[in-house]
Amino acid sequence: MTNTIDTSIYVAITEAIQGEVRRILSEGNVSAVIGYAAARRKGSAQPTVIVQPDDAEKLIFSAACVNNLAVYLTKAKKEIPKTGKIGIVVKGCDLKALVGLMGESQLKREDLYLIGVPCAGVLASTAQPAQPLTSDTIAPKCRECDARLPTGCDFVPDQQPVIPELERRYSAEIARLEAMPPAERWAYWKEQFKKCIKCYACRQVCPFCFCEQCLCDRNKPQMVETTPRPAGNAAWHIVRGMHLAGRCAGCAECERVCPMDIPLNLLNRKMAKELKELYNYEAGFEMQEKGPLATYDEKDDQSFIK
């Protein structure tokens, strides 16, 4: 059964964002704001950078505001001047990435002005931007969201999202894959990775893929085959999954943007599940310099050393 999800609060949230951005840009202590603006296609939105107070009226929030804008604050994006305080519109899931980036000393809290969005969910990549938000068109990550109301922001509009209980698809899919014999599971991933064309959209939208030079772009020595072929594709996605373990908080941008429909967030959610079970650790809730895979403790489980 399809349930419509109430997104009427997004109108008031849009107005509140516009008002706040106009104020902070006019007062001059914020030099630019990264937010969402409407685009040509019906119902669509795209990231935008606003520097003039009068342009604040271009900002919107809707179910088509899918991007995690945190990527624009990383050092991988040199086009956004990082001088002065930068304002950024964040959903709860996006905020988790910022918390991670601050923990890893990539960003300083005092350099940011966080405009949090009470979020009822955004559209899945399979939906058209003009479609209404329903239990069918909502993004998979939103089905299991635990951060609908961002905390610790400088400004959050008052609206309260109301969301029906939705079936958790990642958990179900991970359970299905875990139940498979290894050969069958490998066959599943081989089929998925075979489609990869190494467009690196997954890497380029990821807030945590901020390496100056990605290991997978190196050719002296070559660490991973760069060509889009089965072995190198699998290696790339496994390397990335490992590098994100304990860091990825599930914004699912990699999966949303994959033009080949590879369910990449399953890898990240599986790693997150392992980290939770092994170290009782969840990324994105508090600033921490080093995640469990980057630290050593004598009390760590060593039973795997044989």
Binding site: P47, N67, Q204, Q222, P228
Partner: protein, 334 residues
């Protein structure tokens, strides 16, 4: 030559070609994603959605081996891949935006260097184009001077008609040979009305004005605004029917390995990264500028053609919503 092909005979034609040992490439689902690829069974064809990647890969694969090397002792053996071994292929259900890109690519692949990998596949492939009856708001073939019923690039073109089946028209000897070789499946035209073609909504670009602005504005602050959101992936170039940049890499061990030709994209930082460490396109707006310049100026300067057929894939799948139709349209109004 004009004929009628019933839906039943269309499927029968695919089955016959497959059983004759021809390589039949058509849109079908690959792990759930619609892609052009070799059809194992005529029932697998999926014609109601635009394949995610364009048909260029039929001629210019995502990645192909072009040579291999083997070293035994001090003896090194190099083995070329011989294009003569490529199979006869029928590309079925090529959308007008995809089929029209193939003659555009002919120009660059047969210019100063003859790319035998592309050209041999081109010689051995017959293209059966299919008219579009549906468009979404990312489609813009009409804005670049094509149309959902354009037969450019097709050897044989199919137009769905009222009551089912297709009106067929041949445009080349290859198309005629295909019909003549399967005469029992094609009937005389039955006069059925063609289903109305799709109507993309984007206003026609003034390509001359676009080029005139590009001619004079390599350096312009507008590029920063256009490309500030670009995150530098290759999704647009890789889904594009006309983008054709590739890289050649050697992969393997000291003893054995392959030389491979695979897709590359000007959006990547690495694309123009020099061995010295210098990168002339150091920021993303310079890379995005190249994308627009190549499509609407450089290719036109060199080959008198536009390197865009308006398929809209780059719009639909840009991770950050960059809309080339809006960008080019605005450039045309400057």
């Amino acid at each position: 030559m004009q004929k009628y092909l019933s839906q039943q005979n269309f499927i029968a034609l695919l089955s016959k070609l497959i059983s004759d040992g021809k390589r039949v490439v058509a849109p079908r689902l690959d792990a759930g994603t619609p892609l052009y690829g070799p059809l194992a069974d005529s029932a697998g064809i999926v014609l109601d959605q635009l394949p995610r990647r364009s048909a260029k890969e039929t001629f210019f694969p995502v990645c192909e081996d072009i040579m291999s090397y083997d070293k035994v002792g001090q003896q090194v053996t190099l083995t070329n891949v011989t294009p003569a071994s490529f199979p006869e292929t029928i590309l079925v259900g090529g959308r007008p935006c995809d089929a029209a890109a193939i003659p555009v690519l002919d120009a660059v692949f047969s210019w100063d260097y003859k790319d035998e990998f592309f050209l041999e596949r081109r010689r051995k492939t017959t293209i059966i184009g299919l008219s579009c009856t549906q468009a979404d708001d990312a489609c813009f073939c009409t804005a670049v001077g094509l149309s959902p019923a354009d037969h450019k690039g097709s050897d044989l073109f199919l137009t769905p008609v009222e009551g089912g089946g297709y009106a067929c028209e041949t445009f080349t000897e290859k198309g005629e040979a295909l019909v003549n070789g399967n005469r029992d499946l094609f009937a005389e035209p039955n006069g059925a009305q063609a289903l109305p073609p799709a109507e993309p909504q984007v206003e026609k670009f003034d390509l001359k004005k676009v080029k005139a602005w590009l001619d004079d504005h390599f350096e312009d602050s507008a590029w920063d605004g256009i490309a500030v959101r670009c995150v530098g992936c290759g999704a647009c170039a890789f889904l594009c029917p006309a983008c054709h940049c590739f890289d050649i890499v050697d992969e393997g061990t000291e003893k054995t390995g392959k030389r491979r030709k695979c897709w590359d994209a000007c959006g990547f930082w690495k694309f123009t990264h020099h061995a010295s460490g210098h990168n002339p396109r150091d920021l993303q707006p310079k890379r995005y500028r190249n994308r627009i310049m190549h499509k609407f100026k450089y290719y036109d300067d060199k080959f008198g053609q536009t390197l865009c057929t308006g398929c809209g894939r780059c719009i639909r799948f840009c991770p950050v919503g960059i809309d080339i139709a809006t960008i080019v349209s605005e450039i045309g109004k400057k």
